[in-house]
């Protein structure tokens, strides 16, 4: 694909956003109670696509909603009948603005699991109908460690359109996929941009400054290797001691994908939902008959850490963590998965 870099300024970018919102169903970060989350927007004033604060939840709810209707049914003395569900609100053609790179990357990770032994049609449809526009961060936040993981943040191709802030108020807009290219042709006014042929020197410079701003750095290969050997480490009990067993980390995580099935029933009619679930729940592995293979907190914690850095890697060749730090930001007791895996790995039992 021939890569073209459009260069515009802040005002040009605002116009680009306005044009997108006017022509498409658009989702963007919206502030509510002091936190940002992706919401449907109808004007640029409602949202802040360039917000330096990452959204509390990732863009995961737009592809894997917190609760999705699977079916409707009626059940009475004459029998049970399954009815068609309403149309899925997330399968319409849409654009997502202001996604961070970690969120965009998480979609690639989720793609693998949703294209595995069972093809999730709803997820595929949501993915196909979405144009992802991602803005590269200028500075890492306290808990960010995306550059320490097994993907190339600089040349990430998970988004359709990439936006990078350059020097002197310049903004670089470039397509990363065929879909993105077609989208730019439709929505970007060439009169407001200069078309740069190749010179991506400035983008490199911006990336270097961004990469230098990280507080957290680790060697993921070392972590993968060490964690794979320490299933029985007593260290897990210590690091999980102050965990309060809520589900916040899993629910805000862009890559956690466990779900449960539950019914909302009024008299004879009901709706069956697929909702988020988390391995931190005490009842997550509870079986009929009462046996629970993970009855205590540290075993559940170990499962979460090892699934992220060992089990998923063994099956799909990637880490189930994109280094966004959302779990640490939202954790009621400030537990950071980065600290925990590093602490456990550094106390490796020989």
């Amino acid at each position: 694909m021939n890569v073209e870099i459009f260069v515009t300024d802040k005002a040009g970018l605002q116009k680009f956003y306005e044009a997108i919102i006017a022509r498409n169903e658009t989702w963007a970060p919206v502030e509510k109670f002091g936190k940002f989350d992706f919401k449907r927007v109808s004007s640029l004033g409602e949202c802040d696509p360039d917000s330096p604060i990452a959204t509390t939840r990732s863009a995961k709810p737009l592809f894997f909603p917190r609760s999705a209707k699977i079916m409707k049914y009626t059940a009475d003395s004459t029998g049970t009948r399954v009815k068609e569900t309403d149309e899925d609100p997330f399968t319409a053609k849409r654009v997502i603005l202001g996604m961070k790179h970690c969120d965009a990357r998480s979609l690639q990770v989720l793609d693998k699991v949703y294209n595995w032994d069972y093809i999730d049609n709803d997820y595929q449809k949501r993915r196909q109908n979405t144009v992802v526009i991602s803005t590269r961060c200028d500075k890492a936040e306290t808990h960010c460690f995306c550059t320490s993981l097994d993907y190339d943040v600089e040349n990430l191709d998970a988004m359709d359109v990439l936006i990078v802030n350059g020097t002197e108020g310049k903004v670089h807009i470039t397509a990363r996929t065929e879909k993105g290219d077609a989208f730019l042709k439709e929505n970007l006014d060439p009169a407001s941009c200069i078309l740069h042929p190749v010179s991506d020197e400035e983008l490199k410079k911006q990336y270097q400054a961004f990469a230098a701003s990280f507080r957290l750095k680790m060697n993921y290969k070392e972590i993968n290797e060490k964690l794979s050997k320490i299933f029985d480490s007593p260290e897990f009990e210590d690091v999980s001691a102050n965990c309060i067993s809520c589900n916040t980390c899993a629910f805000v995580c862009p890559t956690c994908h466990c779900f449960k099935i539950s019914d909302e029933r009024v008299k004879d009619t009901g709706v069956r939902y697929k909702s988020y679930d988390s391995c931190n729940n005490g009842y997550f592995t509870l079986m009929a008959g009462g046996h629970n293979p993970r009855p205590v907190k540290y075993r559940r914690w170990r499962q979460r850490a090892l699934h992220k850095f060992v089990y998923y890697k063994e099956r799909f060749g990637e880490n189930l963590c994109v280094g966004c730090g959302k779990c640490a930001v939202s954790c009621p007791v400030n537990i950071s998965i980065f600290e925990v895996v590093n602490q456990v790995a550094s106390n490796e039992v020989v």
Partner: protein, 283 residues
């Protein structure tokens, strides 16, 4: 308000005398000035302990987990924390002789931005009520005042209130961090987690969140001590205190000025029965 040194000394002494198995306190996060709860099990780790106006979390919450169960526990409590401890003692959830309580005469704690917490500005009982040892200068008696947010909410009218709370529940992700961080939510299996029951809605929907949060707030009516652990834990920053403060006000006005856990042996408002109790309102 900085009792770091005193608390380290107390914990160290308790371990040396073999009086406790675990000490629950605060330590620094390691990258900023905020703090996280820490469970110390060895005298050599005592130097991690800190206490100042960033020691926000209510540590009484940790008395319900396996790390402290059936163990002798040392614990730091502020005024509000001690009220919840008082309730746990009354409700037979912890044994007093297994606890060594370090009480703080609290000057108020601050949030992550460094502003004094709203509940601290309205605090009626800043001094720890249950304590084996007190740190700080005790405060004068203060008078309970109705929260300004509740006045504003009450002036809104039923329809507007409903609209407001629908917005709140829409932003809830049902992670249950509020429930898990509440020291008074100690049920081994919560009623709102019953997956198969048709009475409660297990799905992660707005109506499910409404159901869960309303049930939860009514179970805490007359017991909530306004420590705001739930609100600090909420990843969506929902104003959960409004639910509890509303209940607190109704109970204060109707149940002989009852405030939860302020006396030893005090029971929640709904555990007591009196012929004088009014029945002319629906909460």
């Amino acid at each position: 308000m900085d009792y770091t040194k005193q608390i380290q000394e107390i914990a160290s002494k308790l371990f040396a005398e073999g009086k406790i198995d675990v000490f629950v306190g605060y330590r620094l996060t390691g990258f900023d000035e905020n703090q996280v709860p820490v469970l110390i099990r060895d005298q050599k780790d005592v130097s991690q302990l800190v206490f100042n106006d960033r020691s926000v979390f209510n540590l009484v919450n940790y008395l319900k987990y396996e790390h402290t169960r059936n163990k002798r526990v040392g614990l730091v409590v502020k005024g509000c924390d001690s009220r919840s401890l008082n309730l746990l003692l009354t409700e037979s959830q912890v044994k007093r002789d297994k606890l060594y309580v370090v009480g703080i005469a609290c000057e108020g704690v601050v949030d992550e931005q460094g502003n004094k917490m709203q509940n601290c500005m309205e605090c009626v009982f800043p001094d720890a009520i249950v304590a084996d040892e007190m740190l700080g200068t005790p405060h004068e008696v203060r008078k309970y005042k109705v929260n300004a947010d509740i006045d504003e909410l009450a002036s809104k009218g039923l329809v507007d209130r409903r609209v407001y709370f629908e917005e709140v529940f829409e932003n809830c992700i049902r992670c249950n961090a509020c429930r898990h961080s509440c020291p008074l939510c100690y049920c081994a299996k919560c009623c709102i987690d019953q997956e198969t029951a048709t009475l409660y809605n297990g799905a992660n929907t707005t109506s499910g969140a409404f159901h869960a949060l309303m049930t939860w707030s009514l179970h805490l009516a007359g017991r909530c001590v306004d420590c705001r652990n739930c609100e600090k834990a909420c990843p969506s920053h929902l104003p959960l205190h409004l639910l509890h403060k509303w209940n607190e006000r109704v109970i204060y006005e109707n149940f002989q000025e009852h405030l939860a856990g302020v006396h030893e042996g005090d029971r929640g408002a709904f555990y007591k029965y009196s012929m004088q109790d009014p029945d002319d309102f629906i909460m």
